[in-house]
Symmetry: C2
Subunit: 441 residues, 2 copies
């Protein structure tokens, strides 16, 4: 009688099991081969792989079952742990009882050879694609990073909030927003929790964070855009300046990367030889004007006073990696014309702002800055951006009844995973990616 409650992960058995003792394991059949009166099964669970040996002379019933097994079927086995030079990890389970929960048909894709399958087809069969330990690892890393971020936030006094993703007006203007049919009213999907996280600070939470979905109706077909992604958002009140926000972002991202490497170093090194496994002690911070100069000195044409192009970001990442030995770089003081209305401008140079992007291997993974908290200035900035203050009445009201100086940032979770592991496409870092063409599974 097999009780799944008694099941132990195979990695535990290989590492800490006591030979001679009985154990129960369960998982997927990775491979199976029959040799006379013996069937060798490699069993795979989330923790790893382990050999099971099913001998006719130990259990005829189990042996008969094992001979008919197909790869990826789900089984459980009870047996005695035994040393074995031939088995991977030097141990195997000699099976006394075997149960099949689910027989697998021949597979439409071969997860272990995922490189031979197009990404589109892999995503069509996502639940099989993830049977590859390499692909599963991406999401173990993602979960670990999310946990590490939350732990960092908690240790630093940030309160988790859950803001509404259905909104009555497009957050920051712009057309890249999905429309919803909300009973008889028009509504939209939130592009970010920007205004609501500011509300959290002003309402008295002081410091808030949220890790949740963000929606962008961008018709881009690139390797780094998704229409739905996970945004790690933070907002903090009572700051001395936007440097405090950069310190927070640096703390969060560092803890994300370091936690993932600590938890999964072996797998990361095995499956992602191009991964970042160590961050430098200091992350350089350069103004965008310094970035313009660096880029120009390397022959990359940039428009002074404009945002950086994707290509310029990529090149800047290379330069910083070479000059500072850092895969991460903060670019600061973005031009006012390239930033949203709520950005605080530099007091002495109002064409530049107290804002930043964080680039990781040449890709923007975070954007943030100090927010304008002075009602009159904010109102003027809305007008200067060509927006109608009446559409922001609710938002503007927040600054009339006691708003502390504050700032914040949004970090793209999938992008951090992608750049840490060196993935070629962000869709690999999203369980169920959505793009203009893909809505399923």
């Amino acid at each position: 009688m097999i009780r799944l409650r008694e099941r132990v992960p195979v990695a535990f058995l290989l590492r800490e099991g006591e030979p001679g003792r009985e154990y129960t394991v369960a998982g997927w059949v990775d491979t199976v081969r029959s040799l006379g009166g013996v069937v060798f099964i490699v069993l795979r669970d989330r923790s790893g792989l382990m050999q099971l040996v099913v001998k006719r002379n130990v259990s005829r019933e189990a042996w008969k079952t094992a001979r008919k097994l197909s790869p990826e079927s789900v089984i459980a086995a009870r047996g005695v742990l035994s040393e074995s030079q031939a088995a991977l990890g030097g141990r195997e389970l000699v099976v006394e009882e075997l149960v099949v929960y689910s027989k697998a048909e021949p597979l439409p894709i071969e997860p272990r050879d995922y490189e031979k399958t197009t990404l589109a087809k892999r995503l069509d069969w996502r639940f099989l694609d993830l049977r590859s330990p390499r692909n599963l690892t991406i999401f173990l890393v993602e979960a670990e990073m999310a946990w590490a971020a939350r732990e960092w936030f908690r240790e630093h006094g940030f309160v988790e909030i859950f803001t509404s993703k259905i909104v009555g007006a497009a957050t920051e203007g712009g057309a890249e927003v999905f429309s919803i049919v909300y009973f008889d009213k028009p509504a939209f999907l939130a592009q970010s929790p920007q205004l609501y996280k500011q509300m959290g600070v002003i309402a008295g939470f002081e410091r808030v964070f949220e890790i949740g979905p963000a929606f962008r109706a961008e018709p881009h077909h690139t390797t780094r855009h998704l229409t739905e992604y996970t945004s790690v958002d933070l907002e903090m009140g009572f700051i001395d300046g936007y440097e405090d926000v950069m310190d927070a972002v640096e703390g969060v991202v560092r803890s994300m990367v370091e936690a993932a490497v600590k938890a999964y170093r072996d797998r990361i090194e095995e499956y992602f030889p191009n991964a970042v496994t160590k961050l430098p002690k200091d992350i350089p911070r350069i103004t965008i004007r310094e970035a313009y100069k660096l880029l120009e000195s390397e022959g990359v044409k940039v428009e002074w006073g404009e945002d950086l192009s994707t290509e310029a970001e990529r090149k800047l990442g290379e330069i910083v990696e070479r000059e500072y030995g850092s895969p991460l770089v903060f670019v600061t003081e973005y031009p006012w014309r390239a930033r949203p209305f709520y950005t605080m401008r530099k007091p002495d140079e109002p064409e530049w702002t107290l804002s930043f992007d964080l680039l990781y291997r040449g890709l923007e993974i975070a954007t943030g800055g100090q927010r304008e908290h002075r009602y009159e200035v904010l109102r003027r900035q809305i007008e200067e951006k060509g927006l109608n203050p009446r559409n922001f009445e609710w938002y503007l009201n927040m600054f009339r009844f006691g708003a502390p100086p504050h700032g914040g940032a949004g970090i793209g979770l999938e992008r951090v995973v992608m750049q840490t592991l060196g993935l070629p496409n962000i869709r690999e870092a999203r369980l169920l990616p959505r793009d203009p063409e893909r809505l399923t599974p």
Copy 2:
């Protein structure tokens, strides 16, 4: 020169500050009164309240500033901690420097007298409504519960996943789904991550969880429905039966309630005299057929073989509280006709299912059960429910290539908060509630 980085929470000063030392505090002006050459300010931050004393003969400049302060303005103060019998907490800060970051106009609602304001108006001015420590506490409790749930999941081997909220088809059939304009395609907002969390288990994560938004286009105007809420979802593979899922739900909910009470006992007892602050050692589990009998014996008419009405659930909560001394009760074995197609049925009594609801003070806060993982049975169940298997092709395919026995549940975060604190309306437990009439802020 005030540096906000040096700021300490007022609760820390009252508890652990050293009299005679200099400190910096910042927050909102709770009250202010002027008496000759002295201004008394009660400062409020997230941690609590504290008196500041601004004396003309200590700093004339600070005193002049303080005399003009209005309630809810945002200030910071640097000064020396001093013992004071008259001040709350027995201590006050004698101010040497005072900075005003944001002057508050007269308030449109009075947060401290929130009971005198309608809930609708409170929600219109949510950022002021939350200036009431009682209302802020609701969300501190909510954040603590989310943290505790995640910690429980992590300790029990669940991996966090981030599933898409934009879906190509309505998850479980039914009309209560919001439509999206997704480029040129029809799409919907996910009512739950049901099928995707099952995918996580089948893909090899074994145990998954997600805490994220769920969307229901229900035109209900009740005190317990929201069109967008936070769902605490879990799904676990390799179970012996649905009792394992109930054990998990019990573990999660217990850790949520206990963590919140541990972190905020004083505030909960002060602001929510009707709160649950202790759970019984055992949570009773009764079949729905037993529930029918209990209800009938108390004169509540129920339809044998039907789901429980809201009124029946409320009454059952009362009976269980009285008979078992428990605010929580699992009701099990719901009738097949009242459960979705993916529910596993009782092998010996197929009109009943291996499913459950968890009631908390007579309100459903969680629903779950074992899922049917046998392809042929699942296919028949889809047909039996009058659905077209072709619309579930992607989902059905998952059961052809190795699916372990599994089960799971969804827990409504706001409902757990509401019932723990004894709130009269679920909107109070949602930062930005959405209902058929409300889309803002």
